[in-house]
Every structure is written in structure tokens, then in C-alpha cells.
């Protein structure tokens, strides 16, 4: 346990002094004019038994009758309790394998909890994946009705809402087209529209934002705004801190199946960032870090700012991207350098750049001493098309970025927003003139 990790590793306490405990939900809901508690989870536990080798035939069972007792035990969720208020937009964050999706599946009645109980108010609709149960052989009509019933509508109600679903998806001309003839974009639109129109009291959403192109993601964000403004109860599982900070009223950080923090989304995002990129919080992570360059330096924070120096998560098209980072050296580093690689969602490199670190104590090419901190600020022009982008951050040494001390793949992600998509990866300043008729000849 590294000294920096203490804050995250301490089990959450719900004492009166903490103030961030789940009790806050009721008060918050009331202050928003909502009607009390929508979800009440108490002491949820879930353990998976992962067999070393799956036993799927009688023979295997007969040959090794006790094999079911073999295998690894994975405690995916360990004693999590929380409340979500009516009309609250609640985020569950954590990295892959932290147990956040398992937790959502327990709430959605897909998995059964080993211990603990959940109480919910109203109709619950899970959105673990877009378009679950869609049958490609059928036209949109049948699929939307079946999907609606799966989300808990009565058949009559589902049929009544069919037009609204098709309208919202802007697929009026294609309502009788079989889904197998839909483009993937149309399919996503239909599925998303069906989800919105199902109009459940409680929506459990699992990173559906991970699919779709930039314009779809924009639409998702619009819908999230709408959900929040209409005071829907939403539980959103994600590892996208931008979304959490922008939409969530409260959020919960899960790590190794335990709740690490619950409360203010910005605080959750900050802890998430520290947990994943900052402090070396456990042995496994330490090993991982040593693999990439020995961990002689680490990024303590990476963020974007606007022109006034405020932290931002989004950048408007054509506005410069301002990157800030702080680095702390754990050992002496000879001729250190810092670099950034900007990639888009398709992992295409947009821009890569870097610089030697200007060490105060000596001339360039000197030694960055252990414990010394470096702050980095970089500004790049922004011809990028609207969409999501990732920033990979690197510290190198001996005057070369190839000699990696620390590398954080996709340490930061952000959205470039705007309304002039070009269809390409960049949208460039363009002036175009056309003339016709007699003038054209002269």
C-alpha cells in the first residue's frame, strides 16, 4: 500500500462526519422536488465461481465429479449499499473489472445477489446493450413492439408508442424494412429511440455511449440532458469522467468490488483519476507500471483548460486545446522529456508532440531530481472534427521519448463539439466561391 493510496483504500465510512454517505440521497431528492428514494441497495454481494475448465457434458461431470469445486472465486461486488433519489442522475464509475457492470446487472435483475437486498420504486428498464433481442429478419415495427414489452410496457402501450419511436429515430421511410437491411447507424438510432420511448421510471444504462459515431454521441448527450432536465431517475455505469461530471448529480466510485467513494461527481472523477493514473495503489498496478519504464516518474494530474484557465472536459471546434499536466519524479531522471499523442476513436493518431523538460536546477539535458515536480502546459490548434479524442501521455529520458519512463495510454479523453462536421477527421477553414452564367466565361 503506497502512502498516496491511503485515501482510496480506506473503507468508506458512513459516520455523521463523512457527509458523503448514501443517506444524502433522500435529502438531495427532496431538495430537487423529487419524491423520495427510487433505489435502495443494502449490503449487495456477488461472487462468481470461474471454473478452470467448463464442465458442459455428463461425461466430464462423471470423470471429475468434484470439479465444480475447483476454480477461481471472484468477488465481484463486496457489500455495497447506496440510495438513489427520485429524479436523480446517478453515476457508477470504476475501471474494467471493478464490478460496476455486475452491480448494474444485479439492479436490473439479470444477476441474483448472493447477499443483500434491493428495493426499487417503479418500472425498471435496463439498457446493458442497445437493441437487445432485435431480430434482423423482422422490420422495425415488430422489433420495436417486442422491445417495448421487454422494457415493461404493455403490448397496447408498446404499439401506441411505435410512431414516436420511429419519429425520434428519423426512420419513417424504413419502418417496414427488415433490420438486416439497416445500416449500423440506423440500427443504433432505432435502438436508442426505443430505449428513450420505453419511458421507464428507472433507467439503468451501461455505457451505451461506447457505440456510434460522433454525431450519434452528440445525440446521446442531448438525450442525457433531456433525461436530466425531465428529472428521470437514471443510473449510468461508465468510465467516462466527462459524462459523469457533466450529467450526474451524484456518483459512486467502485474499485475491486468495493465502494470507495460516493457523492460529488467531480470528487469521484478526481479520485477515479488518482486511482487509475496517479498513486500506485496496489501491487498489481505497481507491477504494471514498472513494466512501462520503471515508474521513475508519474503524472499526478492531467487536464484541459479553457482560455481563462478553468478545467474543462469539452473543447469547442476551432478553439485551441489547452493541456495541463503535473509530473512528479520518483527517482533522478537524466535528460527528461514529456510527450503527448492525440488519437481519435478509431485509434488514428491526430498529432504527436513533445518537448524536453526544462529542469530548473540545471541546463536542458540535466537531471530531474527525485521528488521534483514539473508542470506542463501545452496549447495546440484545433482543426479536429467533432467527436471524442484521447490523449496518451509519456515521460521519456536520456533525451528520447522512446526511452519511456512513464506512459499512460488514453489517460485523458475529451469531446470536441461543434456543428460543422466535414466527414473527415479534421474540418479545415474553407472558403469556396462559385460563379455561373456569363460571368463564368469571362
Amino acid at each position: 500500500m503506497g502512502p498516496q493510496g491511503n485515501e482510496e483504500l480506506a473503507p468508506p465510512t458512513h459516520g455523521p462526519g463523512e457527509g458523503n454517505g448514501y443517506r444524502e440521497a433522500g435529502a438531495l431528492a427532496q431538495s430537487r422536488g423529487g419524491g423520495g428514494i427510487a433505489i435502495e441497495a443494502r449490503g449487495l454481494e456477488k461472487t462468481f465461481r470461474i471454473p478452470m475448465q467448463r464442465v458442459t457434458t455428463f461425461k466430464e461431470r462423471a470423470v471429475r465429479p468434484f470439479s465444480s469445486s475447483e476454480g477461481r472465486v471472484l468477488q465481484a461486488v463486496r457489500g455495497i449499499s447506496f440510495d438513489v433519489g427520485q429524479g436523480e442522475f446517478f453515476g457508477i464509475v470504476g475501471r474494467n473489472g471493478s464490478g460496476k457492470s455486475t452491480l448494474l446487472k444485479i439492479l436490473a435483475s439479470i444477476y441474483r445477489a448472493d447477499a443483500g437486498k434491493v428495493r426499487m420504486a417503479g418500472r425498471v428498464a435496463p439498457f446493458i446493450e442497445l437493441g437487445v433481442g432485435f431480430n434482423l429478419e423482422f422490420p422495425a415495427r415488430e422489433n420495436v413492439v417486442l422491445n417495448g414489452v421487454m422494457m415493461g410496457l404493455t403490448q397496447k402501450e408498446a404499439r401506441r408508442r411505435l410512431d414516436a419511436v420511429i419519429d425520434f429515430a428519423e426512420l419513417d421511410e424504413f419502418v417496414d424494412l427488415k433490420l438486416k437491411n439497416y445500416s449500423s447507424g440506423m440500427m443504433v438510432r432505432l435502438a436508442f429511440s426505443a430505449m428513450i420511448q420505453a419511458d421507464a421510471d428507472i433507467m439503468l444504462i451501461d455505457e451505451v455511449l461506447a457505440v456510434g459515431d460522433a454525431s450519434f454521441q452528440q445525440k446521446c448527450l442531448d438525450v442525457f440532458h433531456e433525461l436530466r432536465d425531465s428529472h428521470k431517475t437514471v443510473v449510468l455505469v461508465t468510465h467516462d469522467m466527462t459524462t459523469v461530471e457533466e450529467f450526474c448529480d451524484r456518483a459512486m466510485l467502485i474499485h475491486d468490488g468495493e465502494m470507495r467513494h460516493i457523492g460529488d461527481p467531480e470528487e469521484v472523477a478526481r479520485r477515479y483519476f488518482r486511482l487509475n493514473f496517479g498513486g500506485i495503489t496496489d501491487d498489481k498496478q505497481r507491477l504494471d507500471m514498472e513494466k512501462v519504464g520503471g515508474g521513475a516518474a508519474r503524472f499526478t494530474d492531467i487536464w484541459l483548460t479553457d482560455g481563462a484557465g478553468e478545467r474543462v472536459k469539452t473543447v469547442e471546434q476551432r478553439q485551441p486545446i489547452r493541456i495541463r499536466a503535473t509530473i512528479e519524479a520518483a527517482e533522478d531522471i537524466q535528460s527528461p522529456g514529456v510527450g503527448f499523442v492525440l488519437t481519435n476513436v478509431d485509434d488514428v493518431v491526430m498529432h504527436g508532440f513533445g518537448s524536453p523538460i526544462n529542469v530548473i536546477s540545471a541546463e536542458v539535458g540535466g537531471i530531474l531530481e527525485a521528488g521534483e515536480r514539473v508542470s506542463v502546459s501545452a496549447t495546440i490548434e484545433n482543426p479536429l472534427a467533432p467527436g471524442r479524442y484521447y490523449l496518451t501521455c509519456i515521460v521519456g529520458r536520456n533525451g528520447s521519448m522512446a526511452d519511456v519512463v512513464q506512459r499512460l495510454p488514453k489517460a485523458l479523453d475529451f469531446v470536441v463539439y461543434g456543428h460543422s462536421p466535414s466527414g473527415g477527421v479534421v474540418s479545415l477553414e474553407t472558403s469556396i466561391e462559385t460563379v455561373s452564367g456569363e460571368e463564368a466565361e469571362s
Binding site: 419524491g35 423520495g36 435483475s109 437486498k117 428495493r119 420504486a121 433481442g133 414489452v149 403490448q155
Partner: protein, 298 residues
């Protein structure tokens, strides 16, 4: 987490300081289950899935639904030829061709429903793992699809029966009882097989063999009394046998022996009844046991 707790909404008043009458009450979530807490949703889903299944099978084929008739009719033609021209089992049986067609259509329902059900849950993996879907809907929908098919096929059978000159009798009114009983047995077996198949992939092979054996161990293409005396008691252990014997007496030939007469006393029907009830009980037990963890097993 009992079934009762699903339907009993707990009072909102249990939340201290929360007194908004408009908000829906908090209810305990029971987790995944076979039926789910909403009966209407269960029935709606069952209906929609079965109808879609039925449409999918014949959607886009030139002859559409007529294909579902081809199988039983071809089998009927072949068996009719074999057993009237070559083996002559049917020679002394009154209305043999009517009996044969009727039996083939009914047995076809049983066999096709159960065989399709075996793979049903595994094939619907997506809805099981990604949404809160009442699990029992899946095997039952295949049975319902089979029932829709059966209903349409029976129209053809009825025309054939009347054209052949079989007189309607009052026992025809009991036909729903017969089909109801067979449907319960088919549904129980279907659910059992579909749940077991998730864990044991052998089930598919075992069932394809067992269904074949059952076809011969059930008086489908022969009348019960054609079996040698000492085999009849064994045949009567098969729960399908009393069903087909009774159906013949009620629908086709009022002079044919009833199940009790054929077995030589009600006491000999007991093993079949026990197997019938045992299958239903086992099905319920296995299904209830397996369903909550289904999403993890798949």
C-alpha cells in the same frame, strides 16, 4: 426472496422523512426468475415471441405456412403405404388412415416443440444476459408456436376426418382436455430440457434419440392392441400411450378401448401417471433452481 415478496409492495412510509404520496412505492427486487413479477408482461412476451417465431419460420418462403403441412403429410403418405401395403398393421383397423394422420399431427406437435425447446434458451442468450427477461417465456414460446402450428394442421385433419365419413360424437367436445394435458406434458419436458441443455450439451443428442424411441413406443402408427400382450404393460408406462389410446376412443373410433380398458384396469395407468407428474415436478424444480444463475452459466 420468496415469490410472495415480489408482489407485496412495501410501504413508502418505511423511509423516514419521505412522505410523497405520488412516488411509486419501493418494492423488493427478487432478482432473475422464471416468471418475473409481472404476469401481464409474461403473457405479452410469451405471445409476441411465439408469434414472431411462427412468422419467422415461414416468412419469405414461397409456400409459407403450407410447408408446415408438408412434413406430416409426407410422413403420413409413407407410413400409410408401408402399413397398408407391405406390413399390413392397419389392415383390420377401422378408419386406419384417419387414425394415422391424426396421430402423426399430434405426435409431431410433441416432438417438434420439445426438440426446438432444447436449444431455445441457449439461442436466446442475448436477452437472458442483457435484459430482465422472464426465463420461462423462452421454452414456453416454442411450445406455443407448436400449438399454433397444431391448430392449423388440425383444420386439415378435421376436413380429412369428415371427408372420410367419421361421424361427429359428443366426446369430440373433450378434445381440449386431451390437448391441454399433452400441452402440459410438452411444456414441462421443454422447460426441463432447455434448462438442462445450458449445463449439459449432451441433452440435445440424448433427446433426439429418446424422441425417436418414443415414436415407436407410442401407438402412433399402430393401434395399441396390435402390440403383443406382454409388451402392452411396458408400453403403458410411457405417459404418451394412454393419451393416444384415449384420443383414438374419443375422436376416431368410439368402439376402441379406453386407456383403462386397454391397460386392463386403472391400476396399470398409475406408472404413466406417476411419470407424468414426476416430469412436471422435476421440471419445476430444475427450472426454479437453474434460472436465477442462468445469466452466469451461459
Amino acid at each position: 426472496m420468496s415469490a410472495a415478496s415480489e408482489t407485496a409492495p412495501s410501504a413508502t412510509g418505511a423511509q423516514p422523512g419521505v412522505t410523497d404520496a405520488q412516488s411509486p412505492p419501493l418494492r423488493e427486487i427478487s432478482g432473475p426468475s422464471a416468471i418475473g413479477s409481472d404476469r401481464q408482461r409474461f403473457l405479452d412476451l410469451l405471445y409476441l415471441v411465439a408469434i414472431n417465431d411462427f412468422r419467422k419460420t415461414y416468412f419469405g418462403t414461397a409456400l409459407g405456412y403450407l410447408w408446415s403441412l408438408v412434413r406430416p403429410l409426407v410422413l403420413f403418405a409413407v407410413l400409410l403405404f408401408v402399413f397398408t401395403q407391405i406390413v399390413r398393421i392397419g389392415a383390420g383397423v377401422s378408419n386406419y388412415s384417419v387414425l394415422l394422420l391424426f396421430n402423426i399431427v399430434i405426435f409431431g406437435f410433441f416432438q417438434e416443440s420439445t426438440s426446438a425447446a432444447v436449444y431455445s434458451i441457449v439461442a436466446q442468450e442475448g436477452v437472458v444476459r442483457k435484459t430482465h427477461f422472464p426465463r420461462l417465456v423462452i421454452p414456453l414460446a416454442t411450445v406455443l408456436t407448436g400449438l399454433i402450428n397444431l391448430g392449423l394442421n388440425l383444420i386439415v385433419v378435421l376436413i380429412y376426418i369428415l371427408a372420410f365419413g367419421v361421424d361427429p360424437v359428443w366426446t369430440w367436445l373433450l378434445f381440449p382436455v386431451l390437448i391441454g394435458t399433452l400441452t402440459v406434458f410438452t411444456a414441462a419436458l421443454s422447460s426441463l430440457l432447455s434448462a438442462l441443455y445450458v449445463r449439459f450439451r449432451d441433452v440435445a443428442i440424448i433427446w433426439s434419440v429418446a424422441a425417436l424411441v418414443l415414436f415407436y413406443a407410442t401407438p402412433v402408427f399402430y393401434p395399441f392392441e396390435a402390440a403383443p400382450e406382454n409388451f402392452r404393460k411396458i408400453l403403458m408406462i410411457n405417459p404418451l400411450t394412454p393419451f393416444f389410446v384415449t384420443a383414438r376412443a374419443w375422436i376416431i373410433d368410439p368402439s376402441a378401448p379406453t386407456a383403462a380398458q386397454a391397460a386392463g384396469g386403472y391400476i396399470y395407468l398409475l406408472p404413466a401417471l406417476l411419470i407424468f407428474l414426476g416430469t412436471c415436478a422435476l421440471s419445476v424444480w430444475v427450472f426454479r433452481r437453474e434460472m436465477p444463475t442462468l445469466a452466469e452459466e451461459l
